[in-house]
Amino acid sequence: MLPILNIGPLAIQAPGLIILIGIWLALTLIEKNSVKFNVDSNVLSNLILWFLLSIVLFARIGYVAKYFSVFVERPLSILSPNLALFDPLSGLILGSVFFLVLIQRKKLHFRDVLNALTPGLSIFAIFYFLSLLASGQYYGLPSSLPWAIPLWGIERHPLQLYYVLLLIILSAWIFWLVEKEKKISFLFLEFVRWFSVILIFLDFFRGDGAMQIGSIHILQIVGFLLLLSSFILLKRFQAEKISPSVIQRAEK
């Protein structure tokens, strides 16, 4: 666990730094591989930039709406750079809707754009769980296994590392598929399917009790719904066999 990186007089928040490195690496990989998905890298970069900005904007709007009476008293706080004044869930949901609208307005194919994003997404997921390891959040259940790590006063499952390990395997497979141009028109759904399986399997080892109603793990249910949806969509798309971009390429 390394929440703060002290470099001279600077106290850098290590989890935030890891997230930024993850975003940078993901963007680089998306740009590098976009040609394989028949999506222009500049258009894709712009889309992602707008997506990230919209997440920040909607996260703040969502938070202000939630605590409107407090912000009315001090309207300038709406512009505060404080990260604790954001609602990430609102940002992610509304930002994703905005992203879909942008894709439609640019007359791009949803599937191609989502597939082009997948290599970057899989890398970002690794860095996200590394940032959770650095902050000590999302910790595992107590364990006496030889690989248990001491965290918060007790030996625990290194849950964040389990995620990192399985996501590295998933990313390696995704990059292998991209390299060999296999299943490329279902790449996003393949990622969702296997990420859901990881979520369903690993969330049981979560020790912080968050996202749990009684003994039911909410993330496992979310993972199961994602798995089911990806299965149905994969079946549908496999019946079509080829993606819209491939048809376009053939027509050209």
Binding site: V70, S215, H217, L227
Partner: protein, 183 residues
């Protein structure tokens, strides 16, 4: 359904069935593996106890404050973000002081008592300033950067940790409302 299609679907169906079994199995296991929270400086755990002298000579311990939400702010007089957020903490103390206990723990081991007094007098701070003269409490809360603020609920459980600053009045008021369960 063609045989080839059936063969392709079988692994997926098995995956879905195994996932369902795992969810049911783990939800049964979860109820028996519920962890009893110990004392740790982390969200969801009981806040570590302390007993410190305040600037006006009183002794304050976390034990005495049970039943009331607490804001524990670690600071030093030389720390610029700490200085910047003090007026906001003072304003919140004036508004919520009767409902929430504010403990501004000065890391006196890395500060000087004269500077602390001068800072408190200059800014007319009236909330309790506690002195961690040996730095033991700062260390037991694993404070790695100043300011660091812990929001503790009335059961003594840490609800949130904010590392760095300055915190604004808006942020403090929202967190206080959350601690008090106010809309």
């Amino acid at each position: 359904m063609p045989k080839n299609n059936q063969n392709q679907s079988l692994p997926n169906i098995l995956l879905i069935v195994f996932s369902m079994i795992w969810i049911v199995f783990t939800s049964i296991r979860s109820s028996s593996t519920a962890e009893i929270r110990n004392v740790q400086p982390q969200k969801g755990f009981l806040a570590p106890d302390f007993q410190l002298k305040s600037l006006d000579g009183n002794t304050v311990s976390l034990d005495q404050l049970n039943g009331k939400p607490i804001l524990i702010n670690f600071w030093a007089s030389w720390c610029i973000p700490c200085q910047t957020e003090m007026p906001a903490i003072q304003e919140m103390f004036e508004r919520y002081g009767s409902k929430i206990y504010i403990a501004a723990i000065n890391n006196t081991a890395q500060d000087s008592l004269a500077n602390v007094r001068a800072f408190v007098n200059k800014n007319q701070l009236t909330f309790p300033v506690l002195l961690d003269e040996r730095g033991l409490i700062t260390s037991s809360y694993q404070v790695q950067a100043l300011p660091t603020t812990f929001f503790v609920n009335s059961n003594g459980v840490i609800q949130e940790i904010i590392i760095g600053g300055p915190m604004s009045e808006t942020l403090l008021e929202i967190r206080f409302k959350q601690l008090l369960g106010e809309p």
